[in-house]
Amino acid sequence: MNKKSKTISISAALVTILISIMAIIGWFTHNDFLRAVVPGSVTMKFNTALCLILCSVVLLLYHFPPKNKTWHSIPAILSVVIFLVGLLTLLEYVYEFDFAIDELFFKDEQSTTAIYYAGRMSPVSALNFVFIGIGLLLLNNEKAAIYQFFYLAGITFVSLVMLIGFNFISDISTFVRLGISVAIGFILLSVSIYFAQPVLQKKISFELKLVTGFTSVIILISLLSIFSSYFSARRIKTSQMIKHTNAVLNEAGQILSLTKDIESGSRGYVITGDSSFLEYFIIAKNNIFNSIKKLKQLTKDNSPQQARIESLSALVDKRISFSSQMVQARNERDLEEASYLVATRNENFVTIGIRKITGEIQQEESKLLAQRQSENNKSIVSFNRAFIVLLGGVFLLLAVILFAIRHNISVRKKAEIELTKLNNELEHKVLLRTEQIERSEKRYRYLFENNPLPMWIIDLKTFKFLDVNEMATLQYGYSREEFLSMTTLDIRNDEDKELFKQSDHLAQMNETIHSKGIWNHRKKDGTIIQVEIIAHKLIFEGMPARFVLSNDVTEKKKAEEKLIASEKQFRYTLDNMMEGAQIIGFDWRYKYVNDSMAKHGKYAKEQLLGCTVMEKYPGIEQSAIYPVYQKCFNERISIHLENEFTFPDKTRGWFEFSFLPVPEGIFILSIDITERKKAQAEIKALNEGLEAKVEERTLQLISVNQELEAFSYSVSHDLRAPLRAVSGYAKILEEDYKDVFDEEGSRLLEVIQNNGKKMGSLIDDLLAFSRLGRKPVNRSSIDMTQLAEGVFTEVNKTIGNRAKIKMDCLHPAMGDYTLINQVITNLISNAVKYSAATKKPSVEIRSEKTAGELIYSISDNGVGFDMNYAHKLFGVFQRLHSAEEFEGTGVGLAIVKRIVNKHNGRVWAEGQLGKGATFYFTLPDHEII
């Protein structure tokens, strides 16, 4: 609804309410100005005022719909009430019945005309309310537009006519009239209802409005004709009445003059006896009754006149009989007699009476005429006024119609001009468009022809190629001419042909505009390519056709298949691997689980997929693993852990979990380590057992060691004592009995002494060796170069410094200085000892650093050894040379081995008989502190 219409409608409704309220106030205060505007004219009835207010309220509610739902039915209820008031009032008029609704609120004290129903609204108002009631119910209903228009036009017209015309015509009965304020109220209400309905303004054509306008004019003119004919009739009647009155006056005058004739005739005859006088008398006597009869006839509808005529007639009779008697007396007797009669019978009063009555009759008629004439004049004046106003109304209406037509015509003309202009523009545009289209056509043709993808158009009915582009000919191998003689079936395998027909049928049935799909096409050379087809329907040269775009996806498909195969392979791997794999979405639902996971989780795959973790493992929120899920979800970090999981059935299992954030949520890899854990527990138990065993063994070892110590003690103590005795007593023999012994005796004694000495050193070495086992290793940094040099110098002295040494800087080592000193001493002693016999004894000492080890080697150019016996070198008391060749107990290398082993090193030797030997030992390469 446009804003202007709405404003008009609302304003009109508000003014209507104002007018009605004024009338109601008038009823309360008995103020006729408020009730009728012009005091004495028709009032606005209380019911009318009320109904007008209700109508306006319905309209206002229509414009401002109440928010409260219970209020929605209010307009309809009010409309029905308005309709019923109108209807009941009409029924009252028709059936002359009183429903007691007229003075329901107020007593109407006004009683002006005979046909007046106190407090009842005019039937015109009642009819109006019936129409309006229906109209308000059908507000803005498109189907009711014609109805709305006509009743609104009707009400407006009638109210206007009433307002400007009828109120001036006193002849029109009061009760059908409308009060001034009522008429205005109805006009405003009609305007308000009209402008409340934009539908009406749209639906009602100008022609209909025009017809309605002309109809109104015609009705007005008809009304004017009716009124004018009514008033001409009245005018004729008036002139007739004047004639009639004149006739009456005339007749009355005639009667009076005849009476005079009778009197004078009879008198004259009596006096003169001349019979000519008698003639007058006789004529008058004969005519007077005719006149009376005529007069009687003329005033037959007027009883007082009739009564007067009766008395007149009687008086005339009296006069005539008196005059007759006088005449008779003259004739039969004489003048005296007659004079006597005249003198005695004073009949003058009769004539006077006649004169009086005729005067009365004449006066009465004249009065009546004057009265009627004044009435007529008044009526004519009011009519003339109404006539002029109504005529003015007709002219105004005609003027409005003319203006409307003119306006309409000018609007149409303007529209026509506009249309022509638009047409011209359109034509121009069409021309431009055609050009554009042609250009565009060319462009698209170019695009079609030069498209890098094969394209063609096929006839939908015959599947014949209608057009193909160059790329199609290049890719498929057919020439354009060949293509145009083929159908789309010709580029397919037999099995595909059927498939195509079916799917095409379906496609056509479904009327799909676009279709897509992967098809196998055959090139001219017979190779099959996979193509992705995009097609849509079009009209090509007036025929239903299909535009097809073909994209060779053979390679893509292959790649895709490869990808799928690879995906399959990975999926197969994932599905079948021993580790459980699962993907959980951000909504905590299982998106993927493999068989192992299902087995770990103690559910079937199907039971898990789509369900949430919490559904399947109630109570997991309280478990230690739950925060790990959350952490992986929220912080998107990988987490690896071992966890003992408690299943809903309270069983437990150990799992190694790897939580990884993935785009879908989190991926969890799980390994069932329950068995491993069990094994670990067993190992732990075993270890504990082992430790106990070790402890037991250690204790055993300690006791063995103690035994060994006791043994060593007794060896050193108990073996040395007798040895010392042997050695000592042999010495005593040598000292005290030297002279007693011969040479052989002395030699034998010496043998005893030598062996005693040898045994002593054997025991000492053995003890030293055994002591090594118990001695703890005190590690410190050792300058090996200095140590070796010192030892060599010391040892070299024993052979008179004959040996040469070849030594570079040696790597420092970490070890027990005393023990390593022993090793170096033993090895250098050996080297010197076994090379002493050669011409140029030479000892070479070297060191080497390898991964984690320091290798020291001591080589000599001595007698060497047979590698076959190399394994015996480091055994206790194991010797490769006799004591006669080289001194020694066979413990030195055993001690070397023992010390090196105690330092976590290794020893070995390389040698060749007569070509020297090399002894190696290693020490762990500790960082030197």
Binding site: E709, S712, Y713, S716, H717, D718, R720, A721, P722, L723, R724, A725, S727, G728, Y729, A730, K731, I732, G756, K757, M759, G760, I763, L767
Partner: protein, 147 residues
């Protein structure tokens, strides 16, 4: 020999060793006032005037005690402990003469207050040398403690 004149008290169960020791000392001319006891019991009885030597005037203390460790009945360590644990005898220099090189013995002896610890060499020349050196040192070079 009168016990009052005892200068060296040799406690040795091995008679051979004892003889060799005495010979070595004699060769060095320092064995004149040597008294040999064959076990620990006898040694203690002698020093404290008990048992066999009851009534001996214990004020007459030897100038040097040469003590073997491995002995029947009461061993050398026990004897050493008793000597060093008694006010009467604790100032007497005690030289341990033993075949044992075992460190526990040596440690124990020093702990108990042994004045020297000599491992008897097997070879007689060395043995003789060692014993006569000990005798010379303790009897001639060393100033005995005042009693």
């Amino acid at each position: 020999m009168a016990d009052t004149e005892v200068e060296i008290l040799l406690v040795e169960d091995n008679l051979n060793d004892a003889e060799l020791t005495i010979r070595a000392l004699r060769k060095g001319n320092i064995a004149n006032k040597l008294f040999h006891l064959k076990d620990g019991v006898a040694a203690l009885d002698f020093l404290f005037g008990t048992g066999e030597y009851a009534g001996r005037n214990t004020i007459n203390r030897p100038k040097l005690i040469m003590l073997d460790l491995k002995m029947p009945k009461i061993d050398g360590i026990e004897v050493l402990a008793r000597i060093k644990g008694n006010e009467l005898t604790k100032k007497i220099p005690v030289v341990i003469l033993t075949s044992s090189k075992e460190s526990p013995d040596m440690e124990k002896c020093y702990e108990l207050g042994a004045n020297s610890y000599i491992v008897k060499p097997v070879e007689f020349d060395n043995f003789k040398q060692a014993v006569s050196d000990v005798g010379l040192y303790w009897l001639l070079l060393n100033q005995p403690p005042p009693f």
